[in-house]
């Protein structure tokens, strides 16, 4: 089987990057920040559950939502399928490739052997495009890698059919219909409205700005939940990882969203939106300060009450800033 001609590009985030690459391949000119923004990717949630070993937070909407929201707002139709039996999933992927379709698949990130080992962790919701197959290997376009790569068929199959939380079950998708005429301006406004709504108006105490406040309140109690100082240090340092290291585009997706707002402002010729883009960039800088602060106190085991209070206050300031920001943004598009 030959390699499908496919333009490889690095991206900030795997799902928005993969959706963008497939749409570009299908002839739709759209950038990754635009995909992320139209899909209302920006979010916050703080979760505590007996299912989790420790509280966790998220900074984007649910995996899969970027594709689903893009479909809804742009009228794109995606072929999607997951599989009960791995062989069915392997056969389907191979037949789609033989038909000439680059196909996105969900995988466990840990098995992406072309990436440096020190950045690979077990995360079941990594997305990449498969763009061909030779005798032994699949040809991969992974937005986290500089160039196209090869991955052994056995390894890819393992990565597609691992078990556990959010198991991929061989999930694959590709766009099989892209409308010729898309009302981007309408899609942008809808995307902004939904994101702002979810950040300030959802009546749930642990999502959106309420989630940031809960995070601020709860982080001072983390020492009571940790086994020992090493565990606490590890969890505090994970704040940095969640904000910076997991394909967030930096500062918990805030930089990516700022770029979206800038591109949206240009498209809509809206100076006010341009100003909001700059404000979101500054908010991203503040999140990055928190990220650095958490990493530093975690690394130095400087985790006394005073330091955690300081961290809590910094997070609370972000809640105030995002409350003001998304309230204003919501008014602009209401």
């Amino acid at each position: 089987m030959k390699e499908i001609e496919f333009k490889h590009k690095m991206a900030a985030h795997c799902e928005s990057g993969t959706v963008t690459a497939l749409l570009n391949h299908g002839g739709l000119e759209i950038t990754e920040p635009m995909v992320f923004g139209i899909a209302s990717g920006i979010f916050f949630g703080y979760f505590e559950s007996s299912n989790f070993p420790f509280p966790m937070f998220i900074v984007r909407n649910k995996p899969g939502s970027i594709r689903k929201n893009i479909a809804k707002r742009l009228g794109v139709k995606f072929y999607t399928e997951n599989f009960k039996k791995s062989q069915q999933g392997i056969d389907k992927l191979d037949s789609l490739l033989a038909e000439g379709h680059p196909v996105a698949t969900q995988v466990d990130f840990y098995y992406m052997e072309y990436l440096p080992k020190y950045i690979r962790t077990h995360v079941n919701v990594h997305f990449l495009s498969i763009i061909g197959k030779n005798e032994k290997n699949y040809l991969v376009s992974d937005s986290y890698h500089r160039e196209k790569a090869e991955l052994g068929a056995e390894v890819l199959n393992k990565a597609r059919f691992v078990g556990g939380y959010m198991a991929p079950k061989g999930f694959l998708f590709y766009p099989d219909y892209i409308p010729e005429n898309i009302d981007f301006n309408k899609a942008i406004i809808k995307g902004i409205k939904k994101a702002a709504h979810d950040m300030i108006k959802l009546p749930v105490p642990f999502v959106g700005v309420k989630g940031i406040r809960k995070f601020a309140r709860k982080v001072t109690g983390w020492p009571d939940l940790a086994r020992d100082i090493d565990h606490l240090s590890h969890e505090i340092m994970k704040i940095n990882i969640f904000l910076e290291d997991q394909g967030t585009g930096g500062a918990g997706f805030r930089f990516l969203y700022a770029t979206f707002l800038q591109q949206a402002a240009q498209r809509l010729n809206d100076g006010q939106l341009e100003g909001m883009s700059k404000r979101m960039m500054a908010i991203g800088d503040d999140w990055r300060n928190i990220s650095y602060f958490a990493a530093k106190i975690g690394k130095n085991r400087d985790l006394g009450k005073e330091r955690l209070n300081e961290l809590s206050q910094m997070i609370n300031v972000m809640a105030d800033k995002e409350q003001a920001f998304f309230s204003e943004l919501y008014k602009m598009v209401k």
């Binding site: 900030a12 440096p116 020190y118 937005s143 986290y144 940095n240 650095y292 990493a295």
Partner: protein
């Protein structure tokens, strides 16, 4: 001219890194421009916390933005890549 600028930026980058990490014994000339900065076993013993510290200092010192972590991974590969990135951003 561009090459002279690049050499100047490299020197400045080294000075910023030395200051950020408070490595008093190290002189800029002793830092290999092409040596990996952050891969395991790097000459400085740098980790991800140092990485974010350096990103923030480089951003404010040179007035550039290294937003994306995937970009950061490439940009922070060595002094060479950092300096080339800064030069490119300045020219844009």
């Amino acid at each position: 001219m561009a090459e002279t600028d690049l050499q100047k930026i490299k020197l400045e980058v080294k000075e910023v890194i030395i200051k950020t990490l408070n490595i008093k014994k190290l002189k800029p000339a002793e830092i290999d421009d092409s040596a990996p900065l952050f891969a395991p076993g790097n000459a400085f013993g740098l980790d991800s916390v140092d990485a974010i510290d350096i990103i923030m200092r480089i951003q404010s010192h040179f007035n550039v933005r290294i937003g994306d972590q995937n970009l950061a991974r490439d940009v922070l590969e060595s002094i060479d890549t950092l300096a080339e990135f800064i030069q490119k951003e300045r020219n844009n």
